[in-house]
């Protein structure tokens, strides 16, 4: 019995001590981010540098492992009345919080700031975070899709490297020429020819997702929703969206230049590329950090091929948002000024992870450093003027979730195109109906 009392006392004491520690001073703010362990290191560096630069202002980094974890943390703490002061969120996912007025508009602070001006940042990224005419969050990066390619492998097989102005047909031809078996001969990885069993190197890696297909549709002058401002449904039944979808799934079904789903389960595209067994990979700037650890071969980036008549890319951008429930908004804003400003942007750019949203930093050696791969980093900046973005709607994350499985089946299992288009429409219509738009 004495033991029990002793233990209970310990628990209560521990609880009491904890309570005293968390009484937040206004100087300390909480920043919620997510990322793989290597990415989180970049934010730790940023936060430490800020503490030094601002003589004592503290930022507590709250680390989530992935987006779902971050959203669980964020949603619970907002509902529970104690949100983090700042969080980092992609423009495709912030709508649900904007619609619930959980994000603080920054227009007034921007107007007064002597450190940061909206004009310092790429408008393609800042516009993505405007909700009902107000600037809710400030973007830290402005990435788009590029084609990463293994230069060493191209030279080995004597195939011409991708270059500016190339087209979708060039991409398919190049990917076909780069899909090889173990002895280096060109093979097709289609099901009729035995699937991936004979393929040692695949020509291309691409995810079957809405955000990878969207730029093709835009490039051909089309849309994949009925109304970009107030979308109510996906419209893949109309050309050119339908043609883009058909040509996309042909990569696996007709040409066999992308790995099968079993192969991707065993080794995803990024790992396959790092291991020198994928010639090209369609991805955003995010993968650069991982690829910089590659020592076995040379690699570089090329622009997105033109699918239609115009160049089109898709925006990948994360922004710092201040929560409307924050009790230290001034301190949060001071951190934002630092993180979006030249110094903060240089620190994060040094990790290779981001294309800085700050125009000046993006054109400086902090980003274009020729000593660090990719040598042709200018590709990312050249793509900025052609960047478009997916519609802003609060339920967009659910739309991406719902379409993911359908598009996977279309690419890997070869579901009939008309069925795929019908499923895409049927399964997302109710989600569109529930969503709020600015």
């Amino acid at each position: 019995m004495r033991k029990l009392t002793a233990i209970l006392a310990t628990v209560l004491l521990a609880a009491g001590c904890g309570g005293a520690e968390t009484a937040a001073t206004p100087q300390t703010i909480r920043l919620l981010v997510f990322g793989a362990p290597e990415e989180l290191r970049a934010y730790r560096t940023l936060v430490d540098a800020y503490a030094k630069a601002s003589s004592g202002a503290q930022v507590q980094l709250v680390e989530a492992s992935d987006r779902e974890d971050l959203i669980t943390r964020l949603a619970t703490s907002i509902a529970g009345g104690s949100p983090p002061d700042v969080f980092l969120m992609n423009y495709r996912f912030y709508g649900q919080f904007a619609a619930k007025n959980a994000v603080e508009p920054l227009d007034d602070r921007l107007a007064k700031s002597t450190v940061v001006k909206l004009a310092d940042l790429y408008p393609q990224a800042t516009e993505a975070f405007q909700w009902q005419g107000r600037q809710l969050c400030l973007p830290q990066n402005v990435s788009s899709l590029a084609v990463y390619y293994n230069q060493t492998l191209f030279q080995k097989f004597g195939v011409a490297e991708p270059k500016n102005g190339w087209t979708w047909n060039d991409l398919v031809t190049t990917a076909t020429a780069m899909t090889r078996n173990a002895s280096g001969a060109i093979v097709r990885g289609t099901e009729s020819e035995g699937g991936g069993a004979r393929v040692a190197v695949y020509g291309l890696g691409v995810e079957p997702t809405l955000i990878r297909i969207a730029p093709l549709v835009w490039s051909a002058g089309g849309q994949f929703v009925d109304d970009e401002r107030k979308p109510t449904r996906l419209t893949f039944e109309a050309s050119p969206a339908k043609d883009a979808l058909r040509d996309f799934v042909a990569l696996r079904l007709a040409y066999g230049v992308v790995p099968t789903d079993e192969e991707i389960e065993a080794e995803n595209d990024e790992a396959r590329f790092s291991n020198g067994r994928l010639a090209m990979l369609l991805s955003s700037r995010r993968v650069t950090t991982t690829f910089r650890t590659v020592t076995d071969f040379e690699w570089d980036v090329a622009p997105m091929p033109m699918y239609g008549k115009q160049q089109a890319g898709i925006l990948h951008s994360d922004a710092y948002c201040v929560t409307s429930g924050s009790k230290a908004k001034d301190a949060a804003w001071r951190f934002l000024e630092y993180a979006i400003g030249a110094e903060g942007q240089r620190i994060v750019a040094a990790t290779g992870r981001t294309v800085p949203s700050n125009v000046e930093v993006s054109r400086s050696p902090a980003f274009l450093d020729p000593a660090q791969p990719p040598r042709n980093a200018q590709v990312f900046l050249d793509a900025v003027p052609t960047i478009r973005r997916v519609p802003t709607i609060s339920t967009w994350p659910e739309i991406e979730d719902a379409t993911g499985g359908i598009l996977e089946n279309a690419l890997y299992r070869g579901d009939k195109l008309d069925d795929v288009i019908r499923q895409l429409d049927e399964q997302t219509r109710p989600i569109f109906a529930r969503g709020a738009t600015p």
């Binding site: 628990v11 521990a14 362990p37 507590q60 529970g80 790992a271 396959r272 067994r277």
Partner: protein, 270 residues
């Protein structure tokens, strides 16, 4: 006896292969492409996954936090559960039934439904971003199931025993501690083991209540390792092996404890 052996073999056949694959996978060299099929003995063998897991995932710190939480939560939880279970045997039948029904209803409530109210509660108490919310469920016996388990165990003891204690003028608390608890030791061992596993593998609570990396427990650290790319899965699996060892040890200890006690009983009865 033979039936028991067959049962044991069947259970081992189901649970052992994944564990073996876990260990085998953790000994692969990180950074290499994953093999197309499972391989029992990786070539080359490497323990680099372990060193990197400890470093990258901060497993030492997280392990310490998990151990602190379990060291406080498990004994408290077992004591609360046994005390509550014992109290139920001393209450009028109608009250006991009501408590049982309430416990079953509480068992059916999904944990996620309580997430926000619990967060608000801990915030009001100023306990978010401490380990206290992870220990707190122990004050309610961790799960409503465990007091019920103890209730059934105490109820199975002969009623004469309690009458005798009352005649001896033993207080209910003394009856519980001196007479009841020694007689239900196998149950205590089992509940302790189950509570340990529940506490050890608790992911949702630390995810929501703990912000500071220094306070992360093992499930959060493992979650962070799980975001590594597939070539680095040996690192993640090494973390999983290290995290799995303590529950295995606890189970082995609990089982030995429970079995020894059962055997003692068998001797006495013959």
């Amino acid at each position: 006896m033979r039936l028991r052996t067959v049962g044991a073999v069947a259970v081992v056949a189901v649970f052992l292969p994944p564990l073996l694959m876990l260990v085998a996978g953790s000994l692969r060299e990180p950074g290499l492409p994953p093999p197309p099929g499972p391989r029992l003995v990786p070539d080359p063998l490497s323990t680099e996954g372990y060193t990197r897991a400890v470093d990258l995932g901060g497993l030492v710190r997280a392990g310490l936090n998990s151990a602190v939480v379990a060291a406080i939560a498990v004994p408290v939880s077992v004591l609360v559960a046994s005390l509550a279970g014992f109290a139920m045997t001393q209450l009028p039948r109608r009250v006991t039934t009501a408590v049982t029904v309430a416990s079953l209803a509480a068992l059916a409530a999904p944990a996620t439904a309580l997430l926000v109210p619990r967060f608000a509660l801990f915030r009001a108490l100023g306990l978010t971003d401490t380990l206290a919310p992870l220990v707190a469920p122990a004050l309610l016996a961790t799960s409503p199931l465990y007091p019920l388990v103890f209730y059934l165990a105490f109820r199975a003891l002969p009623a004469d025993l309690y009458d005798a204690c009352r005649l001896e003028d033993l207080s209910p608390l003394r009856t519980w501690w001196r007479v009841g608890m020694p007689l239900v030791r196998p149950v205590t061992a089992a509940v302790a083991a189950l509570t340990f596993v529940l506490t050890w593998s608790n992911f949702l609570d630390p995810l929501v209540y703990v912000y500071d990396r220094e306070l992360f427990t093992l499930p959060l650290a493992l979650r962070s390792l799980s975001t590594l790319d597939p070539t680095n899965f040996p690192v993640f699996l090494a973390g999983a092996v290290l995290t799995t060892i303590p529950p295995l040890v606890v189970f082995a200890l609990a089982q030995r404890h429970a079995l020894r006690h059962l055997r003692l009983h068998e001797y006495r009865e013959t």
